[in-house]
Symmetry: C2
Subunit: 217 residues, 2 copies
Amino acid sequence: MTAPRSTRSLRSRRAEHTADTRRALVRAARTLFAERGYAATGTEDIVAAAQVTRGALYHHFKDKADLFRAVMGECAQDMAERLVEQETARAESETGDAWTLLRHGFQSFLDACNDPDFQRIVLVEGPAVLGHSAWDALVEQHGYVLLAEELTRAIDEGSISPMPVAPLTRMLAALISEASLYIARAEDHETARKEAGEVLERLLTGLSRQDPSRTGA
Amino acid sequence: MTAPRSTRSLRSRRAEHTADTRRALVRAARTLFAERGYAATGTEDIVAAAQVTRGALYHHFKDKADLFRAVMGECAQDMAERLVEQETARAESETGDAWTLLRHGFQSFLDACNDPDFQRIVLVEGPAVLGHSAWDALVEQHGYVLLAEELTRAIDEGSISPMPVAPLTRMLAALISEASLYIARAEDHETARKEAGEVLERLLTGLSRQDPSRTGA
DNA sequence: TCTTCTAACATACAGTCTGTATGGAACAGG
DNA sequence: CCTGTTCCATACAGACTGTATGTTAGAAGA
């Protein structure tokens, strides 16, 4: 993996170049997959955008689906980093009980999902292209772990009632994903965001242990 | 549409035959799409299973995606009919307050979604193959209307708190869809069903107006 | 430095698939 | 009986994917 031992700079030059072409392929594919979809994007389009030839593509990736897997992994990674970043920022700045923090966390999770690349590649094309097992493995790795441990902690802290974390994780992720798609596809994003947030808020109160009834407007 | 006017029986014979081939195509495509997926199913495979040639396929359908649309429409139709059937049966047999009926309705909705054809074709492949606008149109037509009016009625009756029905419909549908996928993909379907049902139950209590706290176990 | 070997591509090719165009057969209508 | 249309089969053209082959540049050893 990180095994370049001898002739540091020279090898680095070469390795850097190959890494560049690989990145160029992933970047080009990501753009095209996001705007045209997987099936409608030819490998020729991708390599043209990356300014290489198809030979480079099939040297770095097993096949087209393998390239897609790399692209989706990158999208999921970006999303995960964004979420972690948001969460740490919120944990520092905001004050309040655990339950409120959790609710706010879900709301900003919803905002983070409002990303065209993520929606199209991860949520829409991903399951169909990779199949559920490969898709689930990727999402498990990048996204579910964060959400799952967050939920486990919330249960341990008593913010939400004890319940099976595995289905809860999937179902909440699906809930927020669908909400983000609803917002993105709506004509009026503003009101759609507000309405979806309201529904999300209501549904989340069902998880609450102490059931804080109506908290705010 | 229903315009056969003259020479009833003869025309009927011919029309019946053409309708047969069309049905054969849809049935074959449905089976193959469900088990292999859209991209992995060639038109040759479909017409072979239907015992016709590709000419018949492209006579009845504009292209492969058009055939898929018909298949998905049939799946959605079946699901809708099953739901209506279940609901009427439940409305007659079961007794209880509106809130309990609604909750039981969602649970049997969850069971109804446990169908391989429906899951693969409508939930997984549909969005990627048809695109969100065409997919949404189909689901709107067959499924959302039922759920939406059910929810509207529940709000009017006071079973659940007032909230925007459009996002609520989508989000609940996504919730239950994901739950059904989770159950289907689990090794132990029994416990997965129980756990998902429990989580669903909890989330739904957030919608309740009078907030019946802990109702059951 | 010279040789050699291999990674990193480019190019050419074969197979497959989709959609269309053409042809024909059966049936309805005048 | 004749004509037109529906319904479908066959043949063909284009596109696309994956692979096999060729080529070059850099790394490694002597």
